[in-house]
């Protein structure tokens, strides 16, 4: 497959700034106390790591106070190869967040597929990117309160080259809360009971082999792995403060450049490192 190349070779990242409304519930629910300034600092550190350390081209979409959750840009699109699927988030008001993203994607010459356009839109399909784990070889879609089967079907229909398996999300509210990629064939998994259940399901469903890096803290299960153009393995992971016990695990990864990156404020809102960015490989080749 043209698009099949080892996971992690990204060239671009799309991020979206922290809005002033950060932490405010989208729908008048209970506000969670967060430190906006800190969140912005953390976001800045993340951007710096991606740009300076990892060397990605960063495209930042300005924050929009109208969308308190717009910083979770991961949710609004699933990108693989040159195809971007604009998702249909569970929350109605989040669906407009993608508008700004579309422009960026078209600048990147991405083939943009709208989930809303698919019949899934009317069919009640919902999907958020934080429930999608792409391993480079296949997709796992976590069925959660944010993502339903219809959404997964649309995704499967969009990325036809790949097997798309659905798994229940246990031990977290979103799939990416309990697992993330830690290398081309490595999945970082929380070792909570629920996560293990999800892991077992994944193992049953896959034809491929993955190494599983099991971390004691759930928060540590969400990392961002990028293999830079210079062939260096970078892993952005939560800091010691956030996951004291898991650092040692990360250090076991051979020849990795570890980039501790705080995201404590995002964590309060159920976000994680990966929530902040959409990773893109614009240099995929066909052969």
């Amino acid at each position: 497959m043209a698009s099949v190349c080892p996971y992690g070779a990204f060239t671009h990242a799309i991020v979206r700034g922290i809005p002033e409304s950060f932490g405010k519930p989208a729908e008048g629910g209970e506000a969670i106390e967060t430190d906006m300034a800190r969140a912005q600092r953390q976001f800045g550190v993340l951007m710096g790591a991606l740009r300076q350390k990892v060397g990605l081209q960063l495209m930042e979409i300005p924050a929009d106070a109208e969308f308190p959750e717009s910083w979770r840009i991961e949710d609004v699109a699933v990108i693989q190869g040159d195809t971007a699927l604009i998702t249909r988030p569970f929350k109605e008001q989040r669906r407009a967040e993608a508008e700004a993203l579309r422009q960026v994607l078209s600048e990147l010459n991405m083939n943009v597929v709208e989930m809303g356009v698919e019949e899934g839109g009317s069919g009640g399909a919902t999907l958020e990117g934080s429930d999608v784990l792409f391993t480079g070889k296949e997709f796992f879609v976590g069925i959660s309160k944010h993502t339903n089967h219809r959404g997964a079907e649309v995704l499967a229909d969009t990325f036809r080259d790949f097997a798309v398996s659905t798994v229940p999300v246990c031990g977290g509210s979103r799939l990416k809360n309990i697992c993330s990629m830690g290398g081309p064939e490595t999945i970082i998994f929380s070792n909570s009971e629920g996560a293990k259940k999800t892991l077992r399901m994944m193992e049953q469903l896959t034809d491929n082999h993955y190494d599983v890096l099991s971390v004691p803290e759930t928060v540590a299960a969400n990392c961002v792995y990028v293999r830079s153009p210079a062939k260096v393995d970078f892993l952005l992971h939560p800091t010691v403060d956030e996951c004291p016990d898991s650092i040692a695990v990360f250090q076991k990864l051979p020849d990795y450049t570890l980039l501790p990156t705080a995201c404590s404020e995002a964590s309060k809102l159920g976000g994680a490192l990966s929530s902040f960015c959409l990773l893109i490989n614009r240099k995929f080749n066909y052969f």
Binding site: H149, D161, R200, D207, H209
Partner: protein
């Protein structure tokens, strides 16, 4: 069939594997581990001889095969052999004999026995002109006469070899195989003759002819006249012949049934019966999509696969993304049109092709753009690229069937090389890898799979699906059976012998497995056939006036060199391999869990039974099945660091499980195949029943005598004093021994050796051979099970195909039955543990065995200990008995003292019995107390650790890569009536009579051995029954065993059962992930 050497080698290898690695393997891919096992290229010095010997053996058995040559097959052969120098031809014939023959019924018509090939090749001049259908009788005769030569050679070889102890065995086995094959062919021949359908000579004369229309992959029609009662195979081979296709096992003919459903034409059955009232209209299709097309030997095969995939893609069966459509399309253009020519190729040239179900202009532009970038790529290379990309598609090779789950939700069942996939819409919602599946069955419109329990679960579960109708259910079932067999087994499973009350289809896939076909295609060494690449899938608009684009394969000349080279390599290895169709992949089928699962129920059943009888029983338990040893084994791992490293490197080297391993296998050393052959059966149960009748007042004495044989059977060999063993006895002994030997061999590769040592080498040979052919070396009496079993099974198979009922059927994917499973060496997790100690030598090859034996002889006592393949190990054990092995007192010292000691009692204590198998230990627990109460001899629980492997360490020649990763479980349970025992006997007793009766029924083979012994003025009649239950892991065993015991008792009401030995062998496959 395997040589002992092979099997042993296998065993030895096993230990190397560290648990970790196993885990890794499992994770990485279920299939991966399995294929590896077979791969070792271990040079087997004997192979050559064996190979030569085969024809000789075969010949006497049945001369027939030659007389019913199938025209098509011969023609092909000619094609190949034409290009060979004569000496090559002969060699080839030898090597090919097995692969060709073994494929069994389906192939027979197409594949003339190898011997013929030689003749054919040489005779080719004469026959060539004859056209496809008819072979001149003269030619046939010629062929036969030609055969003589090799045969004679073979005989010589045999003779020369016979001197060596082990050799005869091998020959026997192989001969055995040959015989089976021959028998099959004979049968076939008869059938054919009867129906006249396939008989080439008759075609066109008496029989009514029908014209079949076969749609080929390039869309063309191939009309083919067949006799009305011809079988599917005939038509298929005609088509393959027309296509000049040799690697045909991946393909099949399909037709639409009345309901317009696509069905596969069963090669073994009459066409007419299958199509019923439908048209004689067929399509030539890919049936088994090779997971790694680059492994295919010939470009033409790949080309046909490409055509099929293009069809699949353009029809939408194989979904792919825009990018992939474009890429694949561009390769298609490159293959069919050659380099992009800006002058000639304007944009509209592309419109003649259909690359996608819905083809947009955008796609065409993209295709053209990519096409330009392929400049310089040959058609063959373009095809390879096409396949490399297509194979990664998630739906590649997935055969979809509509179904509903238990809740009535619409789903799709996808059958593929790795297992069964469950889709809901496009989403994969579940997946059952073959190793996970214990049984596949259907009943009416329901399709069931029985799932092996997971780590945490206790019981296996059954998942049911509802198909639209019973035919659909059957179709899915068949496809599953076929895919499982093709991709996961080394050789096709024999249909189970009729069991009690077995209803339903006995359908089994009878063609070659992928392993076999790869082996066979390694033998292909013809210049790449010339073929035209016609533009395959055109959109309908191309029909009118579209230029017939055809690109002759320019690549082929270039490639030919390469191909030839490959062919040569392949051939060499193949030659040495006794290319037995059965060999390569035994490992795959093996399932760890299964043995355990099935074992559990069996034991209780047995016990119950025995208990009911009111007899005192004590159980001596040796348990080889260890499922979850990983933790403990890690320690072992450390010791084996180097080994594991090697393995690891191997694993890394072979990321893609199947293909790579196969590669290796193909190129592997000759030894590999032999070894693999040995593993024929994945699972086997042996049960021995010993009935002893005491005619005298002194029960004790009688008892002892009676007991002795069984003892020998078990580890207790040592107990038998050599002196006491008389040659006369040896017969009977052999029987019992053979049983036990097998057991022991299964347990620890070299047990047999040990036992033998005490007596005579000859016996040992016999024993080894026993399974397959006792008769030859041993004498008529001894033989039995294996030999008979195999042929019969085959017979049944042919017969059975017709008998299948539409209503229901079962298939136990796990087990592959092979005749001599006994010799299979199992790798147990435990082995590894011991390995550290034992590692010394496992003799993979026969030669090595000798030293071992000697060692053994040196210390008979240790022999009893058993089961250690390595003498050294044994010694260790004795010394260390405290920790690992508890040696029962009797065992060691008394090599000669008979009883007194309860032989069975001696036990090896394994480290973590409980952990290993809950069931076993559980059984022990129950029993043990009883035993202690009733019988004087203290019973020690034994866990025998089999160390089969070891091989790696010692064998430098063996490449690590080839180390097979086979896990095997072996379990031996002995139930012995508590004896008043004591018997004392130092007295040997005189053997009065001994004879053996063999009978078969059900799924069991019963060998009854009756020995009368005169001892101390008392005569004792001892009846030993050896019951070999082959096949499924499930409950059947228990039933069969219980039944057997019951029958035995009924038959000899005046006798008592003194011992029941259950030996169970299961080959473990890695669970995937």
């Amino acid at each position: 069939m395997t040589t002992e050497g092979g099997s042993e080698a296998e065993v030895k290898k096993e230990p190397e594997k560290s648990p970790e690695e196993q885990q890794e393997e499992q994770q990485s891919d279920p299939s991966e581990s399995a294929p590896n096992a077979g791969t070792e290229p271990q040079p087997a010095p004997d192979n050559q001889e064996n190979v030569e010997a085969e024809p000789a053996e075969a010949e006497p058995a049945s001369p027939d095969p030659t007389s019913t040559p199938s025209p098509s097959g011969q023609k092909k052969e000619k094609g190949i052999s034409r290009f060979l120098p004569p000496w090559l031809k002969r060699q080839k014939s030898h090597s090919q004999a097995e692969p060709k023959d073994s494929p069994a019924p389906s192939d027979t018509p197409t594949q003339p026995p190898t011997q013929e090939e030689v003749g054919t090749g040489q005779e080719e001049e004469g026959t060539r002109g004859e056209g496809t259908a008819v072979q001149s009788p003269g030619a046939t005769q010629e062929v036969e006469s030609r055969e003589e030569e090799p045969e004679e050679e073979a005989v010589k070889a045999e003779n020369s070899v016979i001197g060596t102890e082990t050799q005869p065995v091998k020959e026997e086995k192989e001969g055995d195989l040959e015989e089976e094959v021959q028998q099959q062919e004979e049968q076939k021949g008869e059938e054919q003759a009867d129906s006249a359908g396939v008989s080439p000579l008759k075609v066109g004369k008496k029989m009514k002819l029908v014209v079949c229309h076969v749609t080929l992959l390039d869309g063309s029609q191939f009309p083919c006249e067949v006799e009305k009662r011809a079988k599917g195979q005939y038509l298929f081979s005609k088509v393959c012949e027309h296509l000049n296709l040799l690697e045909k096992d991946y393909f099949g003919l399909s037709f639409k049934d009345n309901a317009d459903q696509k069905c596969w034409l069963d090669p073994t059955k009459e066409i007419k019966r299958q199509i019923r009232n439908s048209q004689w209209q067929f399509a030539f299709n890919v049936k088994f999509y090779p997971p790694d097309p680059s492994q295919l030997m010939e470009d033409i095969t790949r080309y046909l696969l490409c055509l099929q995939l293009r069809q699949d893609i353009s029809s939408g069966r194989l979904p792919c993304s825009f990018v992939t459509h474009a890429l694949l399309g561009s390769y298609t253009l490159q293959a069919e049109l050659g380099d992009h020519d800006p002058d000639e190729h304007r944009l509209d040239y592309i419109s003649d092709f259909q690359f996608a179900p819905t083809q947009t202009k955008e796609l065409e532009v993209k295709v053209a753009e990519l096409h330009k970038s392929h400049k310089g790529m040959t058609p063959a290379q373009a095809d390879i690229q096409f396949l490399e990309n297509a194979k990664k598609l998630s739906m590649y090779g997935v055969d979809l069937h509509h179904a509903k789950d238990s809740e009535g939700v619409d789903i799709m069942l996808g059958v593929c090389a790795n297992g069964l996939l469950i889709y809901k819409d496009r989403l994969r919602i579940n997946r059952f890898a073959w190793p996970k599946i214990l049984k596949i069955s259907y009943k009416r419109c329901n399709f069931y799979i029985k799932i092996r329990p997971g780590e945490a679960e206790q019981f296996e579960s059954t998942v049911g699906f509802k198909l639209p109708n019973h035919r659909a259910a059957k179709r899915v079932w068949k496809v599953c059976v076929e895919h499982h067999t093709f991709f996961r087994l080394t050789s096709p499973e024999q249909p189970a012998k009729s069991k009690f009350l077995t209803l339903g289809s006995k359908f089994r896939y009878s063609g070659r497995t992928q392993a076999q076909t790869r082996q066979a295609s390694a033998l292909i060494h013809r210049p790449p056939p010339y073929f035209q690449r016609t533009s395959s899938k055109r959109s309908s608009r191309s029909l009118d006036g579209a230029p017939a684009v055809s690109v002759s394969d320019h690549a082929h000349l270039l490639d030919s060199a390469h191909t030839l080279g490959a062919g040569d390599n392949g051939r060499d290895s193949a030659l040495e391999l006794s290319s037995d169709s059965k060999s390569p992949q035994v490992e795959e089928g093996a399932e760890p869990g299964e043995g355990a699962a099935s074992a559990v129920p069996a034991e209780p059943a047995l016990e119950r039974k025995l208990r009911v009888q009111g007899e005192n029983i004590y159980v001596r338990h040796s348990n080889l099945m260890l499922e979850d040893l990983d933790k403990t084994q890690e320690e072992v791992l450390k010791h084996q660091a180097s080994i594991s490293e090697l393995k690891r490197s191997f694993m890394e080297a072979a990321p893609e499980p199947r293909a790579n391993q196969w590669d290796k296998r193909l190129t592997g050393s000759p030894a590999t195949s032999l070894r693999q052959l040995a593993q024929g059966s994945l699972e086997e149960e042996l049960a021995s029943l010993f009935l002893s009748k005491a005619c005298f007042s002194v029960l004790a004495d009688a008892r002892s005598t009676a007991a002795s044989p069984p003892e020998s059977a078990l580890s207790a060999v040592s107990e038998k004093s050599p002196t006491r063993l008389e040659s006369a006895l040896s017969d009977s002994r052999d029987l019992s021994k053979s049983t036990e030997d097998e057991q022991s061999s299964g347990l620890n590769g070299q047990l047999e050796v040990v036992e033998v040592v005490e007596e005579t080498v000859v016996i040992e040979e016999v024993i080894k051979a026993a399974r397959s052919k006792n008769s030859i070396s041993e004498g008529p009496a001894a033989d039995a099970t294996a030999t008979e079993r195999a042929p019969e099974a085959k017979d049944e198979r042919s017969a059975s195909s017709d008998s299948e009922s539409e209503e229901e059927a079962e298939y136990h994917p796990q087990l592959s039955v092979s005749t001599d499973s006994a010799h299979l060496i199992r790798e147990d997790p435990e082995e590894e543990e011991q390995e550290v100690e034992l590692n010394r030598d496992t003799t993979p090859t026969n030669q090595e065995q000798h030293p071992i034996r000697e060692d053994v002889t040196a210390e008979p006592a240790s022999a009893a200990v058993q089961r250690e393949e390595q003498t050294v190990a044994q010694q260790h054990e004795e010394e260390e008995s405290g920790d690992k092995v508890l040696v029962i007192p009797d065992k060691a010292p008394n090599g000669h003292s008979h009883d007194r000691e309860t032989p069975p009692t001696l036990c090896t204590e394994e480290e973590e019995p409980c952990v290993v198998n809950g069931d076993t230990s559980h059984v022990d627990g129950e029993r043990a107390p009883q035993v202690i109460c009733c019988s004087e001899p203290p019973v020690v629980k034994t866990e025998m650790v089999t160390i089969s492997d070891t091989f790696a360490a010692q064998k430098t020649e063996i490449t690590t890569k080839e180390v097979p990763i086979v896990h095997t479980e072996t379990k031996t349970i002995t139930y012995e009536a508590a004896q008043q025992d004591g018997n004392g006997d130092g007295e040997p007793g005189v053997l009065m009579t001994a004879h053996t009766i063999t009978s078969e029924s059900l799924c069991t083979t019963t060998t009854t051995h009756i020995t009368k012994t005169l001892k101390g003025g008392l005569s004792e009649t001892r009846i030993e029954k050896r019951i070999v239950i082959t096949g499924d892991s499930d409950i059947d065993h228990d039933e069969a065993l219980a039944q057997a015991i019951k029958e035995a008792k009924e038959q000899h009401p005046d006798m008592s059962v003194t011992r029941v030995v259950v030996h169970k062998e299961t080959e473990l496959a890695d669970e995937d992930e």
